[in-house]
């Protein structure tokens, strides 16, 4: 059921952006539970990723040293590759079938002949085992472990000053943004001004929350920087005016939507929606 929902979601996303579904259908299955112990918060380090880097380094190390004719290091990397490959095969029992120890040993043996052609040929069999697993799971692993879990994030509601669930907060802020627009459209400027104040204070709370991960100034400027601040100033100015100018108002609404909402949504929503489906279970 969840797989169908994810597929539907992906189809919807690709349809929205006007891209045809590619030749190969992609199924994003939640990674096995046993993988969790190799990623934070259960592990202090992203051990699975580190393990992948080790394999990649030793695999690449064989060819780099073959090219340099540094055969002593070719042998070292070949041995370490087999050792780490075996170790990796035991880390996630559900993925054991992706590993082919004989292919790894055959590659190591070929590498130790110090013949580039033989090593290249033998690498194909081993490479396929990596490729198959990556094709089937890499997107899911990245989604699960390399993107934030928004359902775990709490935001302080500026009105009640209490922590609320992120998704609930997003509905609230969306409601305030809508209330401002609807009231303005109906000429209810007092109500629109009140909704703007609520919207702005909620927006600023998101800025606080996002800054817990986005600690560098550059990224803050991109998401919630000067453009969004100017747009808010513009909105406030119109709603403080005796006769607000609708042109200026809607222009600034567009700017807030573009710089404040869209940039973040484009970056985070897809992974967040997929994770939400997994986490509903």
């Amino acid at each position: 059921m969840h797989i169908i929902r994810i597929l539907s979601l992906l189809i919807a996303i690709t349809t929205i952006v006007g891209q045809p579904v590619q030749a190969k259908d992609m199924v994003i299955k939640e990674p096995p539970k046993s993988l969790a112990k190799f990623y934070p918060p259960l592990s202090e380090q992203p051990k699975w990723t580190q393990q992948m880097h080790k394999l990649s380094t030793h695999f690449g190390g064989v060819f780099i040293n073959l090219k340099e004719k540094d055969f002593e290091n070719v042998d070292k990397h070949a041995d370490k590759l087999v050792e780490e490959y075996k170790k990796t095969s035991e880390m996630v029992p559900e993925w054991e079938e992706y590993f082919d120890i004989k292919a790894a040993e055959a590659f190591a043996a070929a590498a130790k002949t110090h013949d580039m052609a033989k090593a290249g040929k033998a690498s194909g069999g081993l490479g396929k085992t990596c490729g198959k697993c990556h094709a089937e799971h890499q997107v899911a692993v990245w989604t699960k472990y390399h993107w934030p879990s928004f359902h775990k994030i709490k935001v302080i509601d500026p009105a009640s000053e209490k922590e609320v669930d992120f998704h609930k907060f997003m509905k609230q802020i969306s409601g305030s943004f809508k209330a401002m627009r609807v009231n303005f459209g109906e000429g209810q400027y007092g109500r629109a001004a009140k909704a703007l104040r609520a919207f702005k204070s909620e927006y600023m709370e998101l800025k606080s929350t996002c800054s817990k991960c986005h600690t560098t100034d550059d990224v803050k400027r991109f998401y919630v920087g000067g453009d969004a601040s100017k747009a808010f100033e513009g909105l406030t100015k119109e709603l403080n005016a005796e006769k607000p100018n609708p042109g200026n108002f809607w222009k600034n609404v567009g700017l807030v939507g573009k710089t404040g909402c869209k940039n973040c949504h484009l970056t985070h929503r897809t992974s967040s929606m997929i994770k939400e489906v997994w986490e509903e279970k």
């Binding site: 934070p40 007092g190 001004a193 104040r197 600023m204 800054s211 403080n240």
Partner: protein
Amino acid sequence: MKLSTRLLNLLTAIGCFAIAGVSIAYFLINEKFEWIPESALELVREKELVERPDAKRCSECHKDIYEAWKDSRHSISWTSKTFIEASENRTKEKCLACHIPESVTGEKPSPRLDRRDEGIYCVSCHFVNGKMNGPYDLVAPPHPTHRNPDYVNSKFCGSCHQKTFKEWKETGVDDTCQNCHMPRTKSRLTQKLPLSLLHKKKWVGNHKFLHGDITEKDILIEAEFKERFFNFSLLNKTVPHGVPTADNGDPRLYLYITFLNAAEEQIDQAKWILAPQQETALPFNKKMEFRYRLFDPVAQANIVLKYQPAWSKEKDMVWEKTFRP
């Protein structure tokens, strides 16, 4: 000569030698320690003290400093509930450098692997390049201490408090971080007898790293009702950095306004959050203007300012004011 007289003379002589010995030792340790041969010092050196000891070991001599530190936020930088929650059970790599620094030197430190529960402890700040460092050159028989002028400069604190350091630098104020947050008193660096008697009193900074209270004198307000608006300004008059300030924490000032009509009924209310993570903290000595549109006639505005530190969910009252048109 009587036996008792001879004994008295002997004791007097021993006493004189002892006083002279202590005086010479006092003079040498405090004034001319370079005269003491290194071979003599080697006899009293405790080598494990220059091998990254734990804070408890340092407390054997530096009891007062240890107790002040133990009472500080630095001592719980790794174990505080706020940090554990905010760092997702300490898995956010970017938090580690400053919550468990290996060695603070004026640049952003690297995180260490050992003694993490001690947070920012003695060794983090005083043990640099294999040597014990501090604001004074000291012979300190158990371990030598090398003077480094950085210990009384704000840049040292700026290793981790980078944004606050930048804010302070922009103010041009002479008072350093240490002047306000580590006020000095004349006292002994060690409380362990008899070593403490051999040390002259020195200016010692408060290792509780005081977090000053925000009061009425610090944040000034001016307000007026003008046409359809309630205008007011806030001024951080005394604190030479943003109020509040934090690199990654989330301390806040909450400003609440309640508008009443002539019948003293509440007709509107507003709130401002002044926080570094929202880039709304009050800069030093710069009036921040605020404007609030009123849609109904107002007879009174009651304003309350409260402060919430990053590590607390409680708010403290700063001041309360009333304004009328």
